[in-house]
Symmetry: C2
Subunit: 343 residues, 2 copies
């Protein structure tokens, strides 16, 4: 445990339910996680969204406007230097915050992180990594990219694999993480051109353990610790997985308590059902970590409400406490140096 | 009901569990569905895979070899004219069978269908359509392509959308089917280049009802009747969805009976748990229909075992009974003619 509290800059204006649900999630995080919160956005709107009592311990940092979902990120960020995501990233750059959490335009969050914080050395493109639960309890799988880059060259995916492998090892505690390439068949020849070329690139490196193609059915199997894909497929998959989790909980709520025996059975299973909800509910997972930028940024879903945003803040706190950034930077440079020596 | 039984050519040599599980599924289909079965493959291997009693009512059509998963489809199909998938397609071409069902190399099945049966007029590329259950009971969603084409031009996706719309209307009984484009955001500007151009093409036609982009979380929502995507994303999604169903069942099996209360609770819930299994188990769904070729072909998963292959045969029977092919051909030509007149 760190002796100092993690300081989290919260983009209070980003997301479908901003600022009310964002602020509510931040207030809960302040109370339960022991973090410092800087709420970035329009002070009046923030104050109107919650009771003044609960806002007392949160700092409000003024910002003007936000990047709308239909806006092209780069030009919008330049046109609105005081937009909440820009101001949030600046807080990290200035050392006033340790991490940013935003549920706004994910492309804009990535672009703002790139513009304000810059990339880690050796990384062409940052990726958003999301942790999925696998069927093996306590053995999650990290999927990246889940939305930052809709088109990916093999080199980008190789970098995602290396960053993912380091994250899995040092943060998720996985010895010798097994890396897979998301594809439509096991054989190296399967998939589109990009997939075939990426398979070749991953198979020909020695910085991490590439075990081959991962099909859709392998994602949750626990056989892979890290799976790389482009941000288009990854984003579709992430949003689908979250919705499936909700659908399953809905089916359980509908079917389990049917009949008298059902009601009695459910009353006995309350504790076990809570554990199942934790394993399948996406609000427990919260968001994706932007890997490859020189700062910690968690990108939460646009549809985030308070519980989900709370989890996103918890993810940011864990990343800060585990010194994720230092680990990736140090390990990436060490491995990259060794790879260069070996060439 | 048709007065004549649907005649199904079964590629007995295709798939991870061929021929035993394929033959077992076919035997069950013969018994339960009232279809005629032609088992296509190596007669000796087929006979060795099941009891002679149960094979008595099934016709065996000799074939030599199969297309292996690592083989390049076109050259392999030409090198092995007597391969089981080639012989199966020929049976449809010769009018000896009404449909083909195969769990073999899906690219090879599509190529064989193209070579032997040809395309429907106006279709550049056939697609594999898969029916997913939505959260609204009795309102399934058709996703295509789920694996035939890993790279798709906007024109192909527009054709998939039209075929899917016709299938949804005439086979799934959906009035004015709502068509969506799988993408990573609602806005027309979202996604990669291909997605943006496809959105434009779909928005500018009048042959079917395009309602906009569908995100991963919308797939099971029941808001869309047809969702089009390239075969790479679709295939990942299909296999993921199937595995999620299995994973959920596994999590329930692990977590529900924990502790004494858990064991007691589960014993009370046996009936309700069986219903949950039926709602999430993929073996109930079976396979994908190849749309756009001049014949009915169902492509089942390589990992199909008997229950799943049985469902694939049932899908083929339904397609035959509903005269899917005639409907698509007639409707496609009518709509295409009207569109031409309007130009």
């Amino acid at each position: 445990m760190e002796s100092t509290q993690a300081r989290i800059a919260v983009d209070a204006m980003g997301g479908d339910y901003a600022p009310a649900e964002i602020v509510a999630g931040a207030i809960r995080a302040k109370e339960e996680l022991g973090v410092e919160i800087l709420l970035v956005g329009d002070p009046q709107q923030i104050r109107d969204s919650a009771q003044s009592d609960s806002l007392r311990q949160l700092e409000i940092v003024p910002a003007e406007g936000t990047i709308e979902m239909h806006e092209e990120p780069l030009s919008a960020l330049r046109r609105k230097p005081q937009a909440s995501i820009n101001v949030s990233m600046n807080l990290v750059k200035q050392g006033r915050a340790d991490a940013v959490v935003s549920a706004g335009h994910s492309g804009a969050a990535m672009a703002a992180a790139l513009l304000r914080l810059g990339r880690l050395k050796g990384i062409d493109r940052p990726a958003i990594g999301a942790v999925f639960p696998s069927v093996i309890a306590g053995k999650p799988v990290l999927i990246l990219d889940v939305g930052a880059n809709v088109d990916c060259r093999p080199r980008f995916l190789e970098q995602f694999a290396l960053m993912g492998s380091i994250y899995s090892r040092y943060v998720l505690g996985q010895d010798d993480p097994k890396v897979g390439l998301l594809n439509i068949g096991e054989e190296p020849s399967k998939g589109n051109d990009a997939a075939v070329r990426t398979h070749e690139a991953l198979a020909n490196q020695s910085a991490f353990t590439f075990v081959g193609n991962a099909e859709g059915r392998d994602i949750l199997s626990g056989q892979f610790d890290v799976i790389v894909c482009d941000g288009f497929v990854g984003n579709v998959l992430l949003k689908f997985a979250e919705a499936v989790g909700e659908s399953v909980l809905q089916i359980l709520r509908e079917e389990l308590p049917q009949g008298i025996m059902g009601k009695l059975g459910v009353s006995l299973l309350r504790g076990n059902l809570r554990r199942i909800k934790q394993r399948v509910d996406h609000a427990e997972h919260g968001g994706g970590l932007l890997l490859g930028v020189a700062g910690i940024a968690v990108i939460s879903h646009g549809s985030s409400q308070a519980p989900s945003f709370f989890s996103a803040i918890r993810l940011a706190k864990e990343a800060v406490d585990h010194r994720v950034l230092d680990q990736i930077q140090a390990q990436y440079q060490k491995i990259a140096a060794a790879a260069l020596e070996g060439e």
